[in-house]
Symmetry: C2
């Protein structure tokens, strides 16, 4: 076996990780999009599909971890290659959590079915989900291209999602105050909106990881991770 | 430099990781305990202290990651030692998230200050937090002892937290329905309770990681990660 041969098997292993991460990303995107459609249309069959798909991401994460650890043990990679593998583990964990959040939203569809969701709320949720899905889609593109400028740009855009989330949060509180019958379904919608906001956070975490993988240093400047709703009612 | 000498430096590096993880665990425990006390007594000064401490865990996680990656690159560990280092990275990430959740609860103290929290709710939150803190404390003990039976036991105990969380969730909804003025503060308390429930989840994740570190296989049997409140209102 020549060294070239070893390197080429090693490249295959790195390519396997990249391919599996991209697949996980595709599944996560699909699950999040479907969960929001299920929510907005109170489509329990679609919700059930999302719930059943979560196991795909759980298995993929486990397989990526196993492959990553075996690759480290066998190939003993240094510097950039080691960062590549550690990054794959980290991104797989983020995508697995995105799937969990999509599943959690899907599970709430049955509970909020009775609401007959007001159009304004549905639109707000859709808008929030569109932004989060755009973040997720673009960050997966950046994973393929390793465009660090773009990774930084995505990281800075998290504020927009927070602003929409805060306005939706206030809108939901208003509905709850108007009619006590709205309280239970709107509580579920609050958690759904929070889940979508967290999906945006995971996309931003992935952008940071890609930046680190490519450069060896974390991106500069603090990113406030909390949303702005923690102080609603205090002003 | 003799091989013995190399091994001893390597042991020092593993010990460094173990020590830093234990320190992170201590800080996370303290933050969670303080955040609940701040919440129950609407103590904004204590809340501010928790918020300011979050950076300690952020920095510790970054330093553990850096040390872990350097150790892998330099020492090229196999099997158990590699799992030990990968586990440290994973546990550091879980503890950093526990700190985030404590901080998020602390940030809500100011918003709910106006409520004058009903005793029954405070007691429910305290009970939930006690259970989550016990999980966290015991899992950190297991990290020191590597007692895999105990790790399995902790993992199975997550159900108790879910049951308390569900009953608190229902109680909060009742308060909101009784008086619209309770809606905003109780919404914050809902998120606080959810955060504490998630702290229990992180403790359980750490238990699973310790089991894997010690045995090389994940613990058997599915663990349902969602709480049981997603269907409240659907029955």
């Amino acid at each position: 076996m020549t060294p070239t041969h070893i390197v080429s098997i090693y490249d295959e292993e790195l390519k396997y990780l990249t391919r599996r991460i991209s697949e996980m990303g595709g599944t996560a995107e699909q699950m999040v999009g479907d969960s929001v459609r299920a929510l907005v249309n109170t489509d329990t069959a679609l919700a059930q599909k999302v719930i059943s798909e979560d196991v795909i991401l759980d298995n993929a994460e486990r397989q990526i971890n196993e492959k990553a650890i075996i690759t480290i043990a066998k190939r003993q990679p240094m510097a950039a290659d080691l960062r590549e593998i550690m990054g794959a583990i980290r991104i797989a964990a983020e995508l697995e959590r995105v799937g969990d959040l999509g599943k959690n939203n899907a599970k709430r569809v049955i509970a909020i079915q009775s609401l007959g969701m007001p159009r304004a709320l549905a639109r707000g949720l859709e808008h929030l989900a569109e932004l989060a899905l755009t973040q997720l889609k673009e960050v997966l593109d950046v994973y393929a291209t390793r465009d660090t400028d773009k990774a930084k740009e995505i990281r800075e855009r998290d504020d927009e999602i927070d602003a929409i989330f805060t306005s939706l949060f206030r809108e939901l509180l208003t509905y709850m105050m108007e009619d006590p019958r709205n309280i239970t379904p709107c509580t579920h919608l609050l958690f759904c909106a929070k889940n979508i906001e967290r999906i945006g956070d995971h996309a931003t975490n992935i952008a940071e990881t890609i930046y680190y993988m490519a450069t060896g240093t974390p991106p500069e400047g603090e990113r406030p991770k909390d949303d702005h709703t923690t102080s609603v009612g205090a002003e």
